[in-house]
C-alpha cells in the first residue's frame, strides 16, 4: 500500500515537474533561438500583416544564411513562430500570453498600433520582451512600460516630416492646409502633431475632418472642405481611406492647388496599382527608403537590403517590410550583445543598443522609442516612389504643384 502511495506521489511530482518544464524557456531549443509573433494573417489588416511577416521571414533567412545568431560563443539558428491574431487587439494580447505559457519570452510585434498596445500590456506583466515593428502611436509609450522597444519613428513625426518638406521645398509655397484623419488613435496623433507643426510654420490650417477608420467613403469630409479650397490636403490615414480620398476627390472635383499628401497609404504598392495615374504627385512620409544611410553586418546598406529582398520575393521592399526586418534585426543584435536569450538580459541589451543598420540608427530612448531615426518624405512620380526629403537622402526633386497626375 505504501508503495502505491509512493508511486502515486512520484507520479504527481513528475506531472508537476513536467508542468513546470512546459512553462520553462523555449527561447532556445537546441541550437535554435525561438521568437514568437502574433500577426494579422487574416481580418482587416491582413495585407499589412502579411507585409510585416514577409519582413520577418526575410530577416530569418538572411540571418541564418550568414551563419545565425552569435550567442555566447555559439551561433544559433533563428526561428519565428507565428500565430494569427485576426487583426483583433484582444486576440493579439491572448496570443502573446500563450507564447509566454509555451516559454517564448522574446516577441516580435504584431501589425499596427492597436494590436501592439494590447500586446505591450501583456509583455510587461509576463516579463517578456518585445521589439515593436509597426506600433507607432506615441500614446503607447506614455504608459511607462519598460519592456517594449519600437524601431520605427513615432506617429508624431509622420505628418510633421511632410509639412517640413513642403515648407522647405514647395514653390510657390502653399498658404492653407487641411488634415483629413481617420478616427483611430494613431491617425489622430499623426494629424494633431502635423496640424501643430503647420500652424507653427505659419500655414493657415482649416479644422481637421475625421471619418471612421477603414472607411471606403470619405465623400462627406471632402464635400465639407471643398468650398474653402485648401492648397494642400493631408490625409492621416491607412490604405483604404487613403485610396478613397484620391478617388473621391476626383469624382467630386476637389482639386487643391498644391496637391495631396497622405501618411501610410502611398508607399504601399496597392496605392499605385489601384489608382493608376491619379496616384502621381501624392506626397507621403516613409519609415524607410533605399537611400537611408547606414549599414549593418547582416543586411549591408539600404540598397543591399532592397536588392536582397527583391531577389528573395521578386518585388521591391516597402517600408512595412523594412521596419519588420529592422525589428527582428534589433532583437538579433540584442541577443548577440547580451550573449544570452534570457529576457531580462535581452531587455537590458536593447535599452543600451546603439547600432547603425540598413534601417538607419537603432537606438532607443528611455520610453523605448527610436527617436534618432529620421523619417523620409517620398513623392509618387510616374508611378514610382521617389525620395525627395531630407536633402541628404533625396533621389529626385519635388514636383510642385503635385496635383493633377
Amino acid at each position: 500500500m505504501t508503495g502505491v502511495r509512493v508511486l502515486a506521489a512520484g507520479a504527481a511530482l513528475a506531472l508537476v515537474l513536467a508542468g513546470c518544464a512546459s512553462k520553462g524557456t523555449q527561447n532556445q531549443t537546441g541550437d535554435t533561438v525561438n521568437l514568437g509573433a502574433s500577426m494579422s494573417l487574416s481580418g482587416a489588416l491582413e495585407k499589412e500583416g502579411k507585409l510585416t511577416q514577409q519582413g520577418y521571414d526575410y530577416c530569418v533567412s538572411t540571418v541564418n544564411a550568414k551563419g545565425g545568431v552569435p550567442v555566447g560563443g555559439r551561433t544559433l539558428r533563428l526561428n519565428i513562430d507565428y500565430q494569427d491574431d485576426q487583426s483583433q487587439p484582444d486576440t493579439a494580447g491572448q496570443l502573446v500570453d500563450q507564447f509566454n505559457d509555451k516559454g517564448y519570452h522574446l516577441i516580435l510585434g504584431p501589425y499596427g498600433s492597436a494590436t501592439t498596445g494590447a500586446a505591450m500590456a501583456v509583455i510587461e506583466r509576463n516579463g517578456q520582451v518585445m521589439v515593436d515593428s509597426s506600433g507607432a502611436d506615441d500614446k503607447l509609450f506614455d504608459r511607462g512600460y519598460r519592456r517594449t522597444f519600437a524601431v520605427l519613428s513615432p506617429a508624431s513625426v509622420y505628418a510633421v516630416s511632410i509639412v517640413n518638406a513642403i515648407n522647405e521645398l514647395a514653390t510657390p509655397k502653399p498658404r492653407s492646409m487641411v488634415f483629413l484623419s481617420a478616427d483611430d488613435g494613431f491617425s489622430k496623433t499623426v494629424a494633431a502633431a502635423g496640424e501643430a507643426r503647420a500652424r507653427s510654420l505659419g500655414f493657415s490650417v482649416l479644422p481637421t475632418q475625421q471619418f471612421p477608420a477603414g472607411a471606403t467613403d470619405v465623400s462627406s469630409a471632402l464635400t465639407r472642405i471643398k468650398s474653402s479650397k485648401p492648397d494642400v490636403i493631408i490625409g492621416s490615414v491607412h490604405l483604404a481611406e487613403g485610396i478613397a480620398i484620391i478617388k473621391q476627390a476626383a469624382e467630386l472635383g476637389v482639386t487643391p492647388a498644391g496637391g495631396f499628401a497622405e501618411t501610410v497609404a502611398p508607399p504601399t504598392p496597392d496605392f499605385v496599382t489601384t489608382l493608376g495615374t491619379k496616384a502621381n504627385g501624392v506626397l507621403s512620409s516613409s519609415q524607410w527608403v533605399p537611400e537611408v544611410k547606414g549599414s549593418d553586418g547582416f543586411f549591408g546598406t539600404a540598397t543591399d537590403y532592397r536588392n536582397g529582398f527583391r531577389a528573395a520575393f521578386g518585388q521591391d521592399p516597402e517600408y512595412h517590410n523594412a521596419e519588420a526586418t529592422a525589428a527582428c534585426l534589433a532583437m538579433v543584435l540584442a541577443v548577440r550583445k547580451a550573449g544570452s536569450t534570457d529576457p531580462g538580459k535581452v531587455r537590458d541589451a536593447l535599452a543600451q543598443l546603439d547600432e547603425q543598420s540598413f534601417f538607419g540608427p537603432l537606438k532607443f530612448n528611455d520610453r523605448g522609442e527610436n527617436v534618432t531615426k529620421p523619417m523620409s518624405v517620398i513623392q509618387i512620380q510616374n508611378g514610382k516612389l521617389v525620395t525627395v526629403w531630407p536633402a541628404d537622402q533625396a533621389a529626385g526633386r519635388l514636383i510642385w504643384p503635385g496635383a493633377g497626375g
Binding site: K47, D217, R224, A240, D270
Partner: protein, 300 residues
C-alpha cells in the same frame, strides 16, 4: 446649399448601390427565414470575377457584372440545394452557424486565391463627372461611375420586383415564402424554389460586387462589412417586400451623407444605427415591410 445638394446626390447614388447589395439578402430572409451571413462573401466573389475579366481581357465591369451575376446564380443555387436546404427547417441558429462558416471559408479562400491586396477596376469614365448646371447647381457633380452603378442597381431591383409579382416562378417564390405547405399542395417544388431564390439573391450580390469594384475598392475582409450593411438595410426597409431594400438603401445612403455633412465625421455610423432604431420603434416591420413572415404557416 450646394454642399447639401452634393451630399444628397452622392448619398442617393451610394444608396442605390447599397440597395442592390442588400436586396438579395432581404429576399432570402423574407422567403426562407434564412439570415445568410455569407452574403458579403457573394458580393466579393462577384467583384473578383469582374476584376479578373477586366485584368485578363480588359472587359468593362458592366460585362463583368452580368458574368459575375450568372456565375453567382449557379453558386447560390448549388449552395442552397446541397447545403442550406438540409437545415432550412432547423432552428435559425443552425442556419446562422452554417452560413457564418461558409463566410469564413469564402473570405479565407479569396485571400488565398486573390491575395489580400486592395483591388479596384479602373475605367476611364468612373471618376469623370458632369455638373448639375442646368438645375442651377453648377457645383454639384455627378460622377459617371456612380451614376451607372446606381442606374443598374435600381433597374435590377425593379426587375426583381416585376419578376416576383408577375412571373409564375416569382409568384411561386412568394407563395412558398407565405405558406410552404400550401405551396407544396399546389404542386410547387419547395426545394427547387428555395434554391432558385438563393440563386437570384447571389446573382444580384455578385453583380453588385462588380459595381463596387467600378466605384470603390475591395479586399476579402470587406465581406463582413457588406453582410452587416445588408442586414441593416433589410431591417430598415422591411422584409417581405422587394422594394423595401431599395428604400432602405436609399434612406441609409442619404442619412449617412447628411450626417457626414452636419455632424463630426465619426458619428456617421452611430447616426445610421440611431435612424434604424428610430424607424423600428415607429414601424416595427421596417419602412415598407408587411411582416408576412410572422403570419405564415410553418410546416411541421
Amino acid at each position: 446649399m450646394s454642399a447639401l445638394a452634393q451630399a444628397t446626390v452622392y448619398g442617393l447614388l451610394q444608396g442605390g448601390l447599397l440597395a442592390m447589395i442588400a436586396v438579395g439578402f432581404s429576399l432570402v430572409w423574407g422567403v426562407m427565414n434564412v439570415i445568410n451571413l455569407a452574403h458579403g462573401g457573394y458580393v466579393l466573389l462577384g467583384a473578383y470575377i469582374a476584376w479578373e475579366l477586366h485584368a485578363a481581357w480588359g472587359l468593362d465591369p458592366l460585362i463583368g457584372a452580368v458574368t459575375g451575376g450568372l456565375v453567382m446564380f449557379g453558386v447560390g443555387y448549388v449552395v442552397q440545394r446541397l447545403l442550406v436546404n438540409q437545415i432550412v427547417n432547423a432552428p435559425i441558429f443552425l442556419t446562422l452557424l452554417l452560413t457564418f462558416g461558409l463566410q469564413l471559408v469564402l473570405v479565407q479562400g479569396m485571400a488565398v486565391v486573390f491575395s489580400a491586396d486592395y483591388r479596384s477596376i479602373a475605367t476611364p469614365y468612373a471618376s469623370q463627372a458632369f455638373t448639375l448646371q442646368s438645375f442651377g447647381l453648377a457645383d454639384v457633380r455627378v460622377p459617371y461611375g456612380r451614376l451607372l452603378a446606381f442606374v443598374v442597381a435600381v433597374l435590377a431591383t425593379a426587375a426583381l420586383v416585376v419578376f416576383t409579382q408577375r412571373s409564375r416562378t416569382g409568384l411561386a417564390i412568394l407563395a412558398t415564402g407565405m405558406d410552404r405547405t400550401a405551396a407544396r399542395l399546389m404542386g410547387i417544388n419547395a426545394r427547387h424554389v428555395y434554391a432558385l431564390t438563393a440563386g437570384i439573391a447571389a446573382a444580384l450580390a455578385g453583380a453588385a460586387g462588380a459595381l463596387v469594384g467600378l466605384v470603390g475598392t475591395f479586399s476579402p475582409p470587406d465581406a463582413a462589412r457588406f453582410t452587416l450593411l445588408s442586414f441593416v438595410i433589410s431591417v430598415l426597409g422591411g422584409l417581405g417586400n422587394m422594394y423595401g431594400a431599395l428604400l432602405g438603401g436609399l434612406v441609409l445612403g442619404v442619412v449617412q451623407a447628411w450626417a457626414g455633412q452636419y455632424l463630426p465625421g465619426t458619428w456617421v455610423n452611430a447616426v445610421a444605427f440611431a435612424v434604424l432604431v428610430g424607424v423600428l420603434i415607429v414601424r416595427p416591420a421596417g419602412l415598407a415591410g408587411r411582416a408576412f413572415y410572422e403570419a405564415r404557416v410553418e410546416a411541421t
